[in-house]
Amino acid sequence: MSAIETVRESYRLLDDTKFGSIVKGIFLFGLLAALPYLIEVDVAGMELAATLSLKVLILTLIYAYTAQSWNIMSGYTGQFSFGHAAFFGIGAYATQKLVVSFTLNPWIGMLIGGFVAVLYGLIIGFLTFRFKLRGHYFALATLAFAELINVVVTNMSELNAANGYYKPFPRDYGASYGLSAFQFQSDLPYYYLIFGFLVVVTVISWIIKNSWIGLYFFAIREDEQAASSVGVPAFRYKLLGIAISAFFTALGGAYWSMYFNTIRPNTVFALFKNVEILLPAVVGGVGTLLGPIVGSFIVTPVSEIARTSFSGINGLDRIIYGAFLVAIVIYSPNGVISWPERAKKLWNRVRNNKEVTDK
């Protein structure tokens, strides 16, 4: 038995045990935790850090996190939301507004923002599910709710209208740099913070997927009528899905507002923010646990690297990004997560053909 076969065999044994997926998950997250150091490792005179900075990694994890949150609702229950920027923006705005106006600690503001987003999500869900909107109509309705809150905030002088907020210093709300202030003086702690967020949402996503809740979610996604007829309370579980999803998306918005210096309606509530949130999940694989993370590691660095390396001509990076989106959707409709499977199938077909020709 060659070495590679031993590895393959032990991998299959690991797959068969009950804890296989947990071990793999821990390995993956360990890799993510080590990533800031890995990119600085010198390989043959080249280091990844030249193209992939810590900032890009943080951005990648933010979008992995929000896509994972989006996935809980849209991937699992099949209710395709095109308006998650609403929740994201609510989280960002609640945190900043409470810090600036009431000197409330951002962690508390973040939780309040999460609950406000849940409330908004429940209103959206109650109305749209009650009136049985689905497909394109549901997507457009969620988009309308997101644009609605965008315009409302843009016109509210209480929320600084179109100017938005500038992140206050920790001493403005009686704290000093560190975890309790939600602000750090370097990027590395920020990385581990969003990494923690991602671990939490992924674990919760995994628990949901492996519990009766996930079973109900998937039943609703596959055939809502059939699910209802065997006693799945579809309406209530769809509301649960949107509530969980809204809560975690808002937390992502809060993180965003504490990492970047400013928030404005046309950044956190932007039309394009809706897309940025769902894109990693679609690219990676909708409804899968790993899809949003893998997808974000493809989409976000491509966008950022294109931006930095084609900065000579304004807009060229967006052309490349657009072409990349089109290509990935056409050639990989089920997401990147299906590539190993597809490669295996292709390999088998090639091998079978070879055997046929050998005979």
């Binding site: 009650r130 909107l133 016109n155 039309l271």
Partner: protein, 321 residues
Amino acid sequence: MPSVATSAGAILVLQSGLGRFIDPFAQFITDLLNMEAVLLQLLVFGLLLGGVYALTALGLTMIFGVMDVINFAHGIFLVLGMYTVWSVTTTLGINPFIGIPIAAVVLFAVGIGVHVLVVEPIIEAPQQNQLIATLGVLFIIQSGIEIAFSPNPQQINLSLGSLKIGDVFVPLGQFYALLIALGTMLAVRAFLNRTNLGRKIRGTADNRDGARYVGINVPRINYLTFGIGAALAGVAGASIALFQRFDPFTGDIYLINAFVIVILGGLGSFSGAFVGGLMIGLIQVYGGYYLPGTTAQVLIFLLFIGTLLIKPEGLFGGVDV
């Protein structure tokens, strides 16, 4: 006593908050009772704008109705129409009114190209894939325009002046745009109702499978529909360019309003698109006059959500493409 102060503050905030919503409407009703001349002027502006809005929604409603694809590139097709008519007038010195049919032809070709390269392969794919693919097209075209013509706003210097009827001004640029919109809508309607190809398109919109069974070449209908939809966007964009400044990012707001009009009027309904367009135009003009900032857009989204909830098939429900 801080509690008294805060509660008094809360009442003040509440009053100013409510007043913000009530005052403009009170003002509107006072003006209505006094028969202010400004109301008539606003009505004219609203109708002029609404007619053009209806035309922007026409192509979208056709593509949505026939192919069941949400085309996010529609807004950028409009912008492409604007830049086409602008470049033929400024560089070749051609009359902008001749530029409009040129924009239609260019956009028809672009539409077919986009369809063959991007939409055709994913026409049966889940909606999120269609959305992202058409969004990719939006980025490509938008940045292409940005690189070719710079991101600065452009405009066609027509200086057509305006007509004065009684106390009411009618800006001629907008008036011609409205005429073009009406003419195009009537022409498309006649095409769909009277010609053989038009009937095939309507049949496909009604029932794609049924159309296939009776021998209609559905893929061909698809690319023609996409081409015609893009051409209509080209005409709409070109006529907007007659009276308004534009830049590569103008398309976004038109795209969102076009979605609202499509839902408002009913999927694939032409008369619905027309009435929906007029409604949005009137809300924007009256709202812009009476309400602060861009609050009128809030009304539009509330109307949109209300329609989706209560009558998702639209005011003119059913399909009559």
